[in-house]
């Protein structure tokens, strides 16, 4: 048996995201201490309270495309793609950072380099509330998003696509019948990971915002 391309510890960083009644509404991945990344459509406009891994979510941060700095063009492209493909419009890129102060789960590093077609990714998540994972090749990619030959059901939104180094290479947001899962790629993810925590800190300093 060969060495697994995905380290076993990554499973600890993948969490179910639930509404206040405890119903599972999506998947999230820990990207920094007490911070969970998920798809924006999972938590918006879901009314409070939100629960991540049975712990309370105290803040939700999203960024407008212009807030992505040098990657704003890619952010705008990903946003438009989401609107046209899914018909859903949350007003910006389909990413949200959740503050979970009591969370102790380890975080995954975010990949900074582009993915390539043929690379294999692992996608763990909670489709239908069941803990499940799949694995498959990236079949197409551009600078903003990529498609992976993986199919998991409702509830997989917000799940990480993890590369063979155990890094967050993508975040699953949509599904295509014959192609598989559509994910936001590392360029947008890394820009979001750099900038969203600043919004979170600003919010903590001025809770009325």
């Amino acid at each position: 048996m060969t060495t697994p391309p995905v380290p076993a510890h990554v499973w600890e960083s993948v969490l179910p995201v639930c509404d206040g009644r405890g119903s599972m509404i999506g998947t999230g991945v820990v990207v920094a201490p007490r911070q969970v990344l998920t798809a924006l459509h999972v938590v918006h406009p879901e009314p409070a309270p939100l629960i991540a891994d049975r712990l309370a979510v105290t803040a939700i941060i999203s960024l407008r495309p212009w807030q992505f700095g040098a990657t704003r063009r890619l952010a705008q492209s990903s946003y438009q793609r989401t609107v046209i493909l899914s018909g859903a419009d949350d007003g910006t890129v389909d990413l949200a950072l959740l503050a979970v102060p009591e969370l102790r789960a380890p975080s995954l590093p975010t990949r900074r380099t582009p993915v390539r077609t043929g690379e294999l990714v692992t996608v763990p998540g909670y489709p239908g509330g069941w803990r499940t994972a799949s694995h498959g090749p990236i079949t197409s990619a551009d600078e903003a998003d990529f498609v992976a030959h993986v199919s998991l059901g409702a509830g997989i939104s917000g799940a990480p696509a993890i590369d063979r180094h155990g890094r967050l290479a993508g975040l699953i947001t949509m599904d295509h019948a014959t192609a598989g899962a559509i994910a936001i790629g590392p360029a947008i993810l890394s820009a979001f990971a750099d900038r969203a925590p600043m919004q979170l800190r600003a919010r903590d300093l001025n809770p009325r915002r």
Partner: protein
Amino acid sequence: MTFPVAPAATLRASVTTFSARPASSVAGCFGRLGLVEPAAAGDLGRWGLTLGRSAPTGWSAGWPGCATGGLRRPGLPATLGVTEQALRAGIERSPDLGIAGPVRWPVVWWVNPAPLAAGFEPLYDGERLTLHLAAADPTHRPLVLSGVHLDASLQVELDLDLGLDPTPAPRYGELGYALARLAAMSTRWLAEGHELFSLLNRAWKASPAPLWSSGRLHVHCADLGERIATKFWADGAAATRLELVIWTDSRGGLVLVNAYPCTTEHSIPDPEDEAK
């Protein structure tokens, strides 16, 4: 960077009635991802959008033709009723699965015949209908086809009470949806003259041990000795090997969650590796 695009026939099969937007507004945006139409793309985080909504209520109307086309085999009906007797016989042949019986079920389960013709057997485990494929070594656990990883709520579609309606229209529930997704995704790479479920059978029998495992996730790889697929994501390279991705469910069942042509990209370096 280049962006591989699937063959035209595959792309046409992806067209659905999902979006009212004209195709011309979509092509430019998605052509680079190989998705020329919005197709059946949908939101996976909520039950209410696209796939989640369309699946329980006549999903086949909006499903790309390749979904049923990929399942259909010459000489077989479009669907096959699996009767209580067939289920009972399957259970009797697999006493080690711990499925209780005998029980009477007032339902007939409609399953596409392609996987059954390829050697899969229907089994009802008390909660849902699944298909089982025995391993080459009878001491090994069978491979399971189930829809639980796609959407457990869809199983309600399986209940067809023949006592109320003597000629019910066959509908597809959780399992049917799972089979359709497997077949739909395989249409992008399956080589001419091959049938997906027969390949799954051969690959499962030829790979008794996983290539690797991580927790409950296992990947098996089998070389089938002939061209079985064209990897559209690798400039149309021919593939002779098939990878089976298997998730061990909470009861120890080996559920197939993905299958694709086995690649050699395990060793593809990423730019960070190359810089080191």
